[in-house]
């Protein structure tokens, strides 16, 4: 009996420690990024850091063009991913018969499981050459190619979160709308979607977070030119994102050099951006819960 009590004590301890480990890991990650990234703040003058040139060989460490590259690609990806993702979620949740739904959902899951390096590979050999010919561009490796592929990468995230949100709308809402004479189409647009809007918003934000952090696909297809984007036409030119810069340059820098610390500083920036987006998305969900609890009480 005492033996059992001992193992049970140890196992319960292990479970508790593991439960708290997530907090430890987040702190550990942030701590290490700061430890390696913060020296860059001292070593690089602010004028260079906030400049518009990223050219490490000549000590130009302007983060703005990289941030701009990430923003351009992300906006483009959302223009593709949000409409397709939300309409697909609406179709799966509200329109399709059960049997079709059972086929569509695993298919979208397959897209979520496709390695990003594979989409990058297809982007290089298929999408980029076709876009170059179609739009008569000097190169197919541009922000547009990246945006199209990243839109695809965002879709599974958007679909699954938005679909959950639509599923969570009580049946009574729909029944009430139909009883008042609305068609299913009117019910979807005027009742179900508005009722699920915070969940849909969460879906879009998680999609944005997914796209900003995507690395391999962008590195392979966006041409990697750290140029400050300006206006709409930059969508058709090569750009370089923050993630691609880290991935492309970290392998070549000397550990402890200014360049090394600068790349970690970009990592800190990326960490903070995705943290903020995810926390806002989580807050939307939490707030919705408390409102639902209030309504029910």
């Amino acid at each position: 009996m005492r033996g059992i009590a001992w193992t049970e004590y140890l196992i319960t301890r292990w479970i508790r420690v593991s439960g708290y480990s997530a907090i430890l890991f987040v702190l550990l990650i942030f701590g290490f990024l700061l430890r390696e990234g913060s020296p860059a703040l001292v070593q690089i003058p602010p004028s260079s850091l906030l400049g518009v040139r990223w050219y490490p060989i000549e000590d130009h460490f302007g983060i703005l063009p990289l941030l701009g590259g990430s923003v351009v690609v992300t906006i483009g990806a959302m223009l593709v991913g949000v409409p397709l993702g939300i309409t697909t979620a609406v179709y799966i949740a509200e329109v399709s018969p059960r049997s079709v739904r059972e086929i569509l959902k695993p298919l979208v899951e397959v897209l979520a499981g496709l390695p990003s390096v594979m989409l990058g590979f297809l982007g290089i050999i298929l999408l980029a050459p076709s876009l170059r010919r179609l739009l008569d561009l000097p190169t197919g490796l541009s922000a547009l190619t990246g945006a199209l592929l990243l839109g695809g990468i965002a879709i599974p995230t958007i679909v699954s979160v938005a679909e959950d949100a639509l599923d969570a709308v009580p049946r009574t809402y729909r029944e009430a709308a139909m009883a008042l004479g609305a068609t299913r189409w009117q019910t979807i647009w005027r009742v179900t979607l508005p009722a699920a809007r915070s969940g849909v918003l969460t879906a879009v934000m998680l999609g944005i977070a997914r796209v900003i952090g995507e690395t391999m696909t962008v590195m392979m297809v966006t041409g990697n030119a750290p140029v400050m984007p300006s206006g709409l036409q930059s969508l058709f030119r090569p750009v370089r994102t923050m993630t691609a810069t880290i991935a492309a340059e970290m392998g070549e820098v000397a550990n402890g050099s200014v360049h090394y610390h600068a790349l970690f500083l970009i990592g800190v920036t990326l960490f903070l951006i995705s943290l903020v987006i995810n926390l806002i998305a989580a807050a939307v969900v939490f707030r919705k819960q408390t409102r639902a609890e209030r309504v029910l009480s």
Partner: protein
Amino acid sequence: MAASPPILSRRRYRIQRAGFAALLMATLVTVVPIILIVALILWRGAPAISLEFLTQPPRQGMREGGILPAILGTLWLTLGTGVLAVPFGVAAAIYLAEYAPESRWTRTIRVAIISLAGIPSVVYGLFGLGLFVLFLGFGTSILAGSFTLAIMTLPVIISTAEEALRSVPQSFRVVSISLGGTQWQTIRRIVLPEALPGILTGVILGLERAAGETAPILFTAAAFFLPRLPTSPLDATMALPYHLFVISTQVPGMPIRLQYGTAAVLLVFVLGMNILATVVRSRARARRQW
């Protein structure tokens, strides 16, 4: 009250039909490319796949020979990730589902899990480089790569396993406790066996993601070209996704046949795990009696 004029009513249904058709079109635009991508890669990759391709190291600057070291490397990394992430992840899920009180600390844990899930994969790579490769001195190795991938996989495993545990009816626990079982005995003998298929599904999906990732192993485990097989966890290794990256961007004059072949092997690897997860889930659903 008079019914709405039939002409208006018919128009409303015409709009609905057109609307549903548009939704279907958008869904097809999303779904059809997925099928095309999978079919294309398998079809173009199949001719490259031979016994030599699967069992030989690359030769002639990777332009000939096989991809055995990359296949084994990905197997080792996936296995290492599983060994490291599963005990932690499942235990954390048990804590959240069975032990954790509704407190500020528990909310902090949930926020931490959400944050972990949102960290970009390349940032995990930086962290792995800083902590495991340099600070702990693992070097560029399977061990450092597995640790990095394990932390990245943790949130997937925790959240799916917690959901599986929560789906076990409360009455099961009540009965076990009322028969004199301790909390751990209840979890081990009653709750875990019932939740096992759900947990397994989550673990497989998490490992599927780890197997296909490139950015986290870029600076922690991956070797550009290493024709010999790894002999210890402290060796660097080739890996399928990284190899696909290398041969499609870094090696000029690479035969496209071998690129598609590598992509096909990687696809079969992740698709196989995906199908396995679906099978585990649907079999468990069919058998479930509650």
